[in-house]
């Protein structure tokens, strides 16, 4: 696969923030699980829109509005292709992955989860794919069940198989934002759907980093966030199978999602607009197209390969450094480019703060996955997470900065 190898230097040069200096140093940005940096192609698309054809879409019959409408819908087609959906009717723009999941809980969940039903999630879940189900289950007197993980951080498939029978919904992440665990969602979807269970996959941490194909995966819903995959903030995607979306009541009401309104009744627009209420985040959706094009140009296979290489290198260096606890699967084929760790001498917050002095950005805390931390008896972790622009030299800077942490905070 050498032919595919990513030109990291070139990617780095495309991302303007990497030519800025912080405290006299370039930024070693290792917080990609929180959000990604943006290539100039995406930033320029925003300026081009606002300076050249800013307008409201779908209803304007003048030139700039028609152009904006076409480009907005072009992003939808690009997303469709990127995740392997069958039709643009299945691609709904939301604010973020969190809203995508809430949309499903509030509409599909409201009308399909009943008293006594079982909703299945995993202990790996981010709060955004956990609390909506917790609250829904409470309201409906349904039961929320957690699929456990094994000692190596991978999902416990035996536990899943035991619980799958008769479940109403399986809502599971494709990649953990803490342990990096890649979850075998395709196999799980096959089993779950055989049992008549609806399947939602949280792709917030997978879609940015590996090839995703919702048809092949066999899920009913899939959620992702633009900002984690080179795109602007304020855009999420909900993929939903057409027949399910059609049967669902709308979510927010007003604006473009409407077909007709009379004083006593209203009817809804066709898919996918039925789920897009009010003025859309036009500029950011249009700019998101350029993020997807960028990733497709690099190829998701190369992105994944690059991240595996960096993760491998980082795991080695961190093990070498000593005194750290690393969490998550050791098998790189089962792991995304995310490394959560703790250090005996220092609290995660202090690690992150001292690293900041070296212009190395990592995150500390629960990473919105408190139940996972509780199940591992951890009061928080430090987390480094990689993307296509990260280099081995940045990993070296991370390790050197950890040396400073030990120097400053070691008792």
């Amino acid at each position: 696969m050498e032919a595919l190898a990513l030109d990291v230097e070139k990617v780095g040069a495309d991302v303007p923030i990497f030519s800025k200096l912080f405290n006299g140093k370039t930024l070693a940005y290792l917080d990609n699980a929180a959000t990604s940096q943006k290539p100039k192609q995406v930033i320029e698309a925003l300026t081009d829109f606002y300076e050249g054809y800013n307008s409201n879409i779908h209803r304007g019959v003048y030139e700039i509005s028609e152009r904006a409408t076409e480009e907005y819908e072009r992003t939808r087609e690009a997303v469709r292709g990127f995740i392997g959906a069958g039709s643009t009717e299945e691609i709904v723009f939301t604010r973020n992955a969190t809203e995508s999941i809430n949309l499903v809980a509030r509409t599909w969940g409201e009308s399909n989860v009943r008293e006594g039903d079982r909703v299945l999630i995993s202990v790996l879940e981010h709060h955004s794919n956990l609390v909506p189900w917790q609250v829904l289950c409470q309201a409906k007197h349904a039961k929320l069940e957690y699929i456990g993980i094994k000692g190596d951080g991978t999902l416990d498939m035996d536990d899943f198989k035991e619980k799958a029978g008769g479940a109403r919904l399986l809502a599971v992440t494709q990649a953990s934002n803490v342990l990096g665990t890649i979850v075998p969602v395709k196999e799980m979807a096959r089993i779950a759907r055989r049992e008549g269970c609806t399947v939602l996959v949280d792709g917030a941490q997978s879609a940015p980093h590996m090839k995703v194909d919702v048809n092949d995966m066999g899920c009913d819903f899939f959620a992702l966030s633009s900002h984690k995959m080179l795109g602007p903030t304020g855009v999420g995607v909900l993929y939903g199978r057409k027949d399910i979306l059609e049967a669902m009541p709308p979510f927010n009401l007003g604006g473009d999602m409407i077909s007709e309104v009379h004083s006593c009744s209203a009817s809804w627009n066709e898919l996918p607009w039925k789920f897009e209420a009010g003025t859309s985040n036009v500029a950011d959706v249009i700019a998101f197209y350029h993020a997807i094009s960028y990733l497709e140009r690099m190829s998701m296979e190369s992105v994944r390969e690059h991240e595996m290489r960096i993760t491998d290198y980082a795991m080695d260096r961190l093990r070498e450094f000593g005194g750290l606890h690393l969490y998550g699967p050791a098998d790189l084929s089962k792991r995304a480019g995310i490394i959560a760790f703790t250090m005996d001498d220092a609290h995660p917050h202090d690690i992150a703060a001292v690293l900041d002095r070296e212009a190395v950005a990592i995150r500390s805390g629960y990473h919105c996955a408190q139940p996972l931390h509780e199940s591992l008896s951890l009061g928080g972790t430090a987390r480094a997470s990689f993307y296509l622009y990260n280099t081995e030299a940045e990993v070296d800077r991370l390790v050197a900065a950890l040396g400073k942490v030990r120097e400053v905070l070691g008792r």
């Binding site: 209803r59 019959v61 030139e63 028609e66 409408t69 076409e70 819908e73 009817s267």
Partner: protein
């Protein structure tokens, strides 16, 4: 800019629509509207020997929707039901001189074709397969 929208042929049909009437005893009829802008079309079709023998429309709305309906009524005269069924939007747009319509107004142009199919399908399935 939509310089290419108001072609002569569209303005002609808009100002002097063809077949602008309701048929007394149509074989099938249908009406539909474009909820976004209030365009409305009522189409009535008489079939004889498996072919369109007479067609009329009434409606109101923008020049594009009304001209398109008028042009459509000319276009389908004498056509077989299967020909109607197979009719693609490109045929209508071509007959309109391929105006440069944006994403919003294309719906105005295609409203009459949509209305036609809306009346045609139930009529065809009620009649059963053509012999």
């Amino acid at each position: 800019m939509s310089d290419e929208v108001y072609k002569e042929i569209i303005l002609d049909h808009y100002k002097n629509p063809h077949n602008f009437r309701q048929l007394a005893e149509p074989s099938f009829k249908a009406d539909d509207s474009n909820p976004l802008c209030g365009d409305h079309i009522e189409l009535s079709v008489k079939v004889a020997d498996g072919r369109v023998s007479e067609v009329g429309f009434i409606g109101k709305g923008c020049a594009i929707s009304q001209a398109a309906a008028s042009i459509l009524t000319d276009l389908i005269q004498g056509k077989t039901l299967d020909e109607l069924k197979g009719m693609e939007k490109e045929q209508l747009l071509e007959a309109m001189g391929n105006p440069d319509l944006g994403p919003v107004r294309i719906k105005c142009a295609l409203l009459s074709l949509k209305t036609l199919k809306l009346g045609l399908y139930p009529y065809m399935s009620a009649r059963g397969p053509t012999p």
